[in-house]
């Protein structure tokens, strides 16, 4: 009984309709949070006492880096669900994640590079966190490349799902890299339970950006998922109603 919601998530028409209804909510709340976070981060937050205004890069860098890890985790979990329960919708979710994750990984790498130039005196260093984040980008690209190498959708789903699940090991490595190794990258200032090292005027805009980016991801995922479902359900009779203008 308690599993009916799970079974309904396996039904493409149900998910297609649900995604269409939910998208505007996630998109608009994300837009409001990101707009507020940008204003708070650029205008209301005071300059950092060590880094001056350069620290404001955190408001785009940290949420982008969070996206790179969170989207990958979502992709790996849904790929795993697709493998274990042979659920087509789960594979469609995983396939919809890759391009979003790759683009925000690029944002994290480039904004980090711009930040590093002034703080460390170099745009790039083969530091553990930077190196593993770059590897994460190649994982996304490899995942997309592997999918496009198959004509048969089922084989593409299964092969790419194995790659995604195996690669998830990099996510904790990136997250804990600044603790495990003596890294150039500064230690976390938000993700410490109970004692963030920022005053509220700096922290609140950052949290708004984190939440805003997360909801933006959900909205983007829901739109891409609908496209993915339409491409997969070629012969299903419900499609006619779904695409009627």
């Amino acid at each position: 009984m308690a599993w009916t919601w799970f079974h309904r998530l396996a039904s493409p028409p149900h998910v297609y309709g649900l995604a269409a209804r939910l998208t505007p909510w996630f998109a608009w709340i994300a837009a409001i949070l990101i707009a507020g976070g940008l204003y708070g981060g650029l205008v209301l937050a005071p300059p950092d006492y060590q880094q001056g205004d350069d620290f404001r890069i955190i408001y785009v860098h940290a949420p982008s880096a969070w996206m790179s890890l969170m989207v990958y985790t979502t992709m790996a979990v849904s790929a795993g669900v697709g493998l274990i329960w042979r659920m087509k919708v789960a594979h469609a979710v995983a396939a919809s994640c890759a391009a979003i994750g790759a683009s925000f990984t690029v944002a994290a790498l480039v904004t980090g590079s711009l930040w590093g130039e002034r703080m460390w005196g170099t745009y790039w260093a083969w530091d553990p966190r930077l190196t593993f984040e770059l590897i994460l980008l190649f994982q996304y690209l490899g995942y997309m490349g592997l999918r496009s190498a198959f004509d048969d959708l089922q084989r593409a789903d299964r092969a790419s799902a194995v790659l995604a699940v195996v690669g998830v090991v990099n996510v904790p490595i990136i997250h804990y890299s600044v603790i495990w190794w003596n890294s150039l990258h500064q230690a976390p200032s938000v993700m410490q339970l109970g004692k963030p090292t920022m005053p509220p005027s700096m922290l609140i805009p950052l949290l708004m950006m984190f939440l805003g980016f997360t909801l933006l991801f959900v909205a983007l995922l829901l739109v891409r998922l609908r496209a993915e479902i339409l491409n997969r359900e070629r012969t299903a009779s419900w499609i006619r109603e779904a695409v009627s203008p």
Partner: protein, 54 residues
């Protein structure tokens, strides 16, 4: 205002970071919408080819 745009001497680092991130957000929105529009067109075309009313 020039103080805001100047970002305390870090303008050359702060603004490109924000510009790139916002560009990636906008591109993602455009890509996702275009992908869905294309899939809908494609689905309609398939239905039409089977000779059924859409």
């Amino acid at each position: 205002m020039s103080g805001f745009l100047g970002m305390g001497g870090y303008a050359a680092y702060v603004w490109p970071s924000y510009g790139l991130t916002l560009a990636i957000i906008i591109l993602n929105i455009v890509w996702a919408r275009r992908l869905l529009a294309r899939s809908r067109t494609e689905a309609r075309r398939r239905l039409a080819m089977r000779g059924e009313p859409t």
